[in-house]
């Protein structure tokens, strides 16, 4: 299992997450896509960490996982509040912040 495999998988995962983020409109799915992208980055960091025999990449992974957990908690709370307010989770219809 070489570095190329790990990075290739990470890129594919990131692309899937990004494409999902652009194309889907359900807010919960969007949150999932963000998680996919974050974990793609984590994977790449882990791959490089192993390749370079360093610990920095793993430290970053833990920080990113913490942030991702917090983000998921806040994001889900926002989604609940949003649903209560608008009775919809369709992101293309939630477009009030514009000039």
């Amino acid at each position: 299992m070489s570095l190329e495999h790990v990075v290739g998988l990470g890129i594919v995962l990131f692309a899937i997450g990004a494409a999902g983020f652009f194309l889907r409109s359900n807010t919960v799915v969007l949150l999932l896509c963000i998680e996919v992208m974050l974990n793609a980055v984590n994977l790449i960091l882990a791959g490089f960490s192993r390749y370079l025999h360093g610990a920095e990449g793993q430290v970053y992974i833990f920080m990113i996982m913490t942030v991702a957990a917090a983000e998921a908690a806040v994001g889900l709370a926002i989604i609940v509040a949003l649903y209560r307010l608008l009775k919809t989770l369709d992101m293309s219809r939630i477009n009030f912040l514009k000039g």
């Binding site: 652009f22 409109s25 969007l30 992101m91 293309s92 477009n95 514009k98 000039g99």
Partner: protein, 624 residues
């Protein structure tokens, strides 16, 4: 020390103005008049004391000076607030305070019952203050302060009856026309400051006499610019247009400001800067010609007026023209002496005219005055005394002062100049004859003229006596070396008197006098006839100079103003300002379109931005 305290002369009227203006609101008319007249009276007493002290000094150092404080200081140029009372200033101070005091006294009665009684006396006192500042100033800048101050008071007093539109217009006209002259004055001051590094009269005279050489052209330019200021203030052609209109003000104001004092400030200024004129004699003919043109022109205009005050106003313009003729001949003493005598007899004429107007319930039309001698003997006699002095009948003061000017013109500029100047003198006799007709001949006023009170007659009588006595300093006749010239400290001509010229002068004077008397007698006969000659419209309008100004200056200026108000201001100025606003609005609207509110659009731009940054970094690092 008495001589140190000359600042008290202007301070007293200023105190009077302050007292009346700040705390006089509840005072009765008598109290206001007492403060105003008293302050000028005290100043007159102080001036007389100074005069006595001055006369006891030798002719060489007859000057009291005091420097109060330093006002402006900028590098090489220092301007002090300082006063100097030399013999020249003394003449002017005596005219201002003596005539001013009598006019204050007269006004106390004349303005009785006016709603603006207190305002009137505040302005009048303020005027005397500024006039004394002008006269006593020891440098050009302080003179300018007084110069503007009297202009302000003149404006306020011309427009005293401010509910009358014509009075407001006249005040504004006076102010605007004076601005033209003051522009020149200010430039002259600046140029003097730049050229000499000082504005002090004494220093300037010293620098001109002994200092480093300055080109005659620069000196002449300064003198001409200052003369421009003098032309405005002293109503010389073509800047005289404000003076006839200034007669809208109360008559004592016309007497004080527009006959006896302020309008003479130009003559005084020219005498103050005499060292300049002596250094640049090329300026003298300019002054003489302007004076002569004014004297002739205004005497013709005076003949065409029906309003008694406008006749006197044009007469004032004409007489000041004679003063400038004298200055233009280099005869400072003759010019100042005519200023002195004219101040007295023209003040008298205006005051008497005011008394006549009051007695006839505000009638100013000469065509409806006649035979007033029987109804108002005291006023009529004093008025006629003033007229005789104005015409220059021997032995009244006008004879002494005018004769010196005519002879000076003959001597310096030749026969043609003399003929023109003498023609003006004959015109003076002609319009004086017209004024005589108000008092002689048959009655023309319906109604009963009421005689004026003692407060009005007393100043008239005093001035009438002085219009006889004022000739004495101008003696002896037929020489430039008069008592007056000696008092001013002007050295007599070194050249031995030419016997032939002297004989010619005597003969000319006698002939002039006879001609003037003949013209005066003829004019009196002509104007006291049942059917008086009608006024010519050309003369009445002053050869249409007001129309000329209207067409040539006022209308183009108004059109120009309208062009700027209608085209330039809303289109160009407002357009630029509003344009900047609408431009940023439009830009904002365009960029606001980028913000759609769609999350995915933001996400695309985020990712695209990130990739762009990475691409740039990689390119810069030379990786690809």
């Amino acid at each position: 020390m008495l001589s140190e305290s000359i600042w008290i002369l202007p301070a007293l009227p200023a105190l009077g103005a302050l007292a009346n203006g700040l705390i006089g609101a509840g005072w009765r008319e008598k109290g206001i008049a007492a403060v105003a007249v008293g302050s000028v009276g005290l100043a007159l007493a102080a001036a007389l004391a100074l005069l006595v002290q001055m006369l006891s000094l030798p002719a060489g150092d007859r000057a009291f000076s005091v420097t109060l404080w330093r006002w402006l200081s900028d590098g090489a140029l220092h301007v002090h607030v300082g006063f100097v009372l030399d013999s020249l200033a003394m003449v002017m101070v005596m005219v201002v305070l003596f005539v001013g005091f009598l006019i204050h006294l007269y006004s106390a009665d004349y303005m009785k019952g006016e709603p603006g009684y207190r305002r009137y006396f505040v302005c009048l006192n303020l005027f005397v203050f500024f006039m004394l500042v002008l006269v006593l100033a020891d440098n050009l800048v302080v003179t300018f302060v007084g110069w503007e101050g009297v202009g302000l008071c003149s404006y306020l007093l011309i427009g005293f009856w401010h509910e009358k539109k014509s009075a407001c217009d006249a005040g504004r006209k006076a102010f605007v026309v004076n601005r033209i002259g003051d522009f020149g004055f200010l430039l002259g001051i600046l140029m003097a400051a730049v050229t000499f590094g000082t504005v002090n009269y004494g220093d300037l005279a010293r620098l001109l006499a002994t200092g480093p050489a300055v080109s005659e052209g620069a000196v002449a330019a300064i003198a001409l610019l200052l003369f421009m200021g003098a032309m405005g203030k002293s109503a010389q052609f073509p800047l005289h247009v404000w003076l006839p209109d200034a007669m809208e003000g109360p008559t004592p104001v016309s007497a004080l400001i527009h006959a006896a004092t302020m309008v003479n400030a130009g003559v005084y200024l020219m005498c103050r800067i005499a060292p300049f004129l002596e250094k640049a004699p090329a300026v003298l003919p300019v002054i003489a010609v302007v004076g002569l043109v004014t004297a002739l022109y205004a005497s013709f205009c005076a003949l065409g007026q029906r309003d008694i005050k406008r006749v006197l106003a044009y007469s004032t313009v004409s007489q000041i023209g004679y003063m400038f003729v004298a200055l233009g001949c280099g005869l400072w003493a003759a010019g100042m002496f005519h200023l002195l005598t004219h101040g007295i007899f023209k003040g008298l004429l205006f005051l008497a005219a005011g008394a006549v107007i009051h007695a006839l319930d505000g009638e100013q039309d000469l065509g409806r005055m006649g035979g007033l001698l029987r109804d108002l003997p005291a006023v009529s006699v004093t008025f006629m005394a003033g007229l005789l002095a104005l015409t220059g009948i021997f032995p009244l003061s006008g004879f002494v002062s005018k004769d010196a000017i005519l002879w000076g013109g003959f001597e310096r500029y030749g026969t043609l100049f003399w003929v023109a100047a003498f023609g003006g003198a004959l015109m003076t006799a002609l319009y004086s004859g017209k004024l005589f007709s108000a008092f002689l001949g048959r009655r023309r006023f319906e109604g009963h003229p009421h005689r004026p009170g003692p407060l009005i007659v007393m100043p008239l009588a005093t001035l009438a006596v002085f219009s006889l006595l004022a000739g004495i300093p101008g003696l002896p006749l037929f020489t430039a070396d008069t008592f007056f010239a000696r008092f001013l400290g002007i050295p007599a001509a070194q050249a031995a008197p030419d016997a032939a010229a002297h004989t010619l002068e005597v003969v000319l004077t006698v002939l002039q006098s006879l001609a003037v008397i003949a013209v005066l007698a003829g004019a009196i006969r002509l104007f006291t006839k049942e059917r008086r000659p009608a006024e010519s419209a050309v003369l009445a309008s002053g050869f249409g100079i007001d129309r000329f100004c209207e067409l040539l200056l006022v209308r183009p200026l108004k059109a120009c103003a309208r062009f700027f108000a209608v085209i330039i201001d809303p289109r160009l100025i407002d357009g630029a300002v509003n344009g900047i606003g609408s431009l940023s609005l439009a830009l904002g609207r365009i960029s606001a379109g980028l913000q759609t509110g769609q999350l995915r659009h933001y996400a695309v731009s985020l990712i695209a931005g990130a990739f762009t940054l990475i691409a740039i970094t990689v390119c810069l690092a030379g990786g690809l």
